[in-house]
């Protein structure tokens, strides 16, 4: 079926809202690649623009939902994922994409993230992982490296970062990828692949914070795109090995690309069958009560 796109030209997705990110912020790459991913998927896959929904948590990343002319749910700190699950439960035609920050989702929202992966909810989570709290002015996050000196930890943190990809693999995520904001074409393809994945998809995006934690040189030196055959994305052990190549802490090559992608039944399926057809429910209530007599 060819969708009617007359009402929403796919190229015109930048909203009139004033952009307030710092110059050089990695969020610009994510915004523009997400815009392109949505526009291209609409063209190529025939998905109407109105069937995309973006969610934001709280932090610099969240502003993205204001900057794109796409349906959006600007939520609260760490809570995008359950809201996204609810939206996807409510309408199976929607492509639901959470934009979240590393402080947002790996600290406040970690339980929701793990459970969304566990239940294989058919949503996409894109983490703007700049490894520092930006909007609250430079505190450490769950992916800041050991020794990181933030405003709340001037002596340097003694704890080690999470490897979020490893956490997601253990939790049962069915699609796991990592991108980098300086490799924009690669990033866009990761977004498109994740959005089209049927099931829970996760993209950790290494993003520099120009103001509080500029890791551009470090990432440019270490990050590389995985080649075909470098990881068997259908095998847990292969994915785990590759995911452990870099642990967000020590010096090591940083692989970019899709580490794991498998098909499993999605969470929302049975739910939709139950509500299908929008039946008149009052006679059903009466019937249930009658059965008690």
């Amino acid at each position: 079926m060819t969708p009617d796109r007359s009402s929403r030209p796919a190229g015109d997705l930048i909203s009139p809202a004033e952009n307030t990110w710092c110059p050089g912020c990695g969020n610009f790459s994510i915004e523009h690649m997400m815009k392109s991913a949505v526009a291209e998927l609409s063209e190529e896959e025939g998905i109407p623009i109105e069937n995309f929904v973006l969610l934001g948590g709280i932090g610099c990343h969240g502003k993205l939902v204001d900057y794109l002319n796409v349906n959006s749910f600007y939520g609260i700190h760490g809570r995008s994922v359950p809201a996204a699950t609810g939206i996807r439960l409510g309408n199976p035609d929607l492509k639901v994409i959470c934009h979240v920050g590393d402080g947002d989702i790996y600290a406040e929202g970690l339980d929701h993230l793990i459970f969304a992966a566990k239940r294989n909810s058919d949503i996409t989570v894109v983490v703007h992982d700049n490894r520092v709290y930006g909007l609250t002015t430079g505190q450490y996050t769950p992916t800041s490296p050991a020794g990181f000196k933030g405003r709340s930890t001037p002596g340097g943190i003694t704890e080690h970062p999470l490897n979020p990809l490893e956490v997601m693999l253990a939790a049962g995520a069915t699609h796991i990828a990592r991108g980098y904001t300086k490799k924009i074409r690669h990033l866009k393809n990761l977004f498109k692949e994740a959005i089209m994945h049927r099931g829970f998809s996760f993209v950790d995006v290494l993003q520099i914070c120009a103001t509080y934690f500029n890791l551009t040189d470090y990432y440019n030196e270490h990050a590389y795109e995985m080649k075909v055959g470098e990881v068997d994305a259908g095998r847990f052990e292969s994915a785990l090995g590759k995911i452990r190549e870099w642990d967000y802490d020590r010096e090591a090559p940083i692989p970019l690309g899709t580490f794991y992608s498998v098909e499993k039944p999605i969470y929302e399926e049975k739910f939709q069958a139950l509500m299908a057809g929008g039946p008149e429910r009052r006679p059903l209530v009466r019937k249930v009560i009658e059965e008690w007599r």
């Binding site: 009617d4 204001d66 609260i76 609810g86 996807r88 409510g90 019937k287």
Partner: protein
Amino acid sequence: MAEYSVLIGGKAGEGINTAGLSIAGLFSRLGYRTYMYFDYPSLIRGGHNFAIIRAADRAIGAHRTPVDVLLAFDQNSIDNHRESIHDGTTVVHDASAVVRGEGYGLPLDDIVKEEKAPPITKNSAMLGALARVAGIGREVLEDVLRGSVPAKHLEANLRVAGRGYDAVEGVFTVEPVDAPALPVLTGNEVAGLGLVHGGLESYVAYPMTPTSSILHFLANRAEDLSIGVIHPENEISVILMALGLGYAGKKTAVGTSGGGFCLMTEGLSLAGMSEIPVTIVMGQRPGPSTGIPTYTAQGDLHFVLNAGQGEFPRLVVAPGDLEETYVWSAAALMLSWKYQVPAIVLTDKTLGEGAYSFDLGAITPLPDRQPVLWDGAGEYRRYARTEDGVSPLAFPGRAGATIKASSYAHDEVGFTTEEPTETREVQEKMLRKEESLKAELATYPTVKTYGARDAGTTIVCWGSQKWVCIEAAERLGARVVHPLVLSPFPTRAWKEAMIGAGKVACVENNATGQFARLLRQQGFDPGRSVLKYDGRPFAVDELEARLTEVFT
């Protein structure tokens, strides 16, 4: 009034709740109205559980302390209830477990062994004994068992029930009442059904006493009622999922108690700002914190009225019985959608887990209300500023509309703004919705009164205290004034209901008189507080005694 009370007690795990419901079923079959109070500590096995089942030839909704029959599975069930036993009480006990027995002793261990029946069928022996004591025919007993026991176990239960029946003698006779046999339901079941009547499409909850049984009931009936039921990882997720469902256009409710509601307050505030409808069934139990988790209280009124950061309107309703629970759960959901505000159905353990005869035929539903939907003309603005404060809704997937919901202060489209004029208008828009909701509620029966206008003494109460107050008022010749809506407070209706109130007593299940405090905030005199805060609801006789002290 013809009325009977039966107390059945034993250890947790012995099926006291189910047995109590069967006893209620026995009386219902004869046309009686029934009410069951179920008392249980927070443990799975052992301890002391009991149910008091009261049956009368007219509507009731409370228990009395003295009972006509006491069915005891253990010594505690006799020793703990001395105040319920009087000269006319017939005691039937399990002779295999009770050491210092009274009345009829049934060797239940021997009976189930001889009948090759599972231990749980001991309940049927007690039910049989009760039927015989109360002069209820064997055929009625068997009919009730057929309706409540799965076919696989029916024969064994019938045999054991027959043994109980034969082991005792008739003591009094319950005459059938010429009235239809009504189903006996709990407040939680009826809240679930009322929500579906109001248009519920999905229910999300994390288990927490005393509302877990809404989750169990709706999950069990999801296919029959064509609704989606979800149990996520915690209450934070519960309310956020519900808001996601609401944003996507699905009418959704959640259920919880005080502790879970604490976790939901962040999402409640989000519902207020983003104007996404959600209905919350908040079943109160004693706090603070874990408190006494399986008991009852009305201690969260001000928490519910004030929860969430910032200022936003909310609908809070507090039904007093099954009929009100049905119609106001439905109305809360419908009004929540019409005004895009969070709605809270405030119940408690007494109402939620209490079992009552339910007369669907006697219910007059409140008017049907629909959400205001976008007509498709022009550019869609999620937060269009209208005179009544209500912005037309559209849902994602709608061609030609970009739907931007936001937790931030926002302009009409939904873009973030911190500009002073815009932010003031966001706040004023929300307050206009509250005025619109209040105006609509003025046409609803928000305050109910019972008894003669010139009584000269008035009992005010809220929620589950309704029926115990009505019965006490009849004895004392007082009126009862009972509000159904607590926010926005129905000021005018309350003022009218209280004309000529005379001496006033305010009955509540909390320690500080929270409803009295609300009345004072609204500029009304709440009279003398009559409070109970040990986790147990008032018995009718107990409240009568307390009120007599206040009124004389």
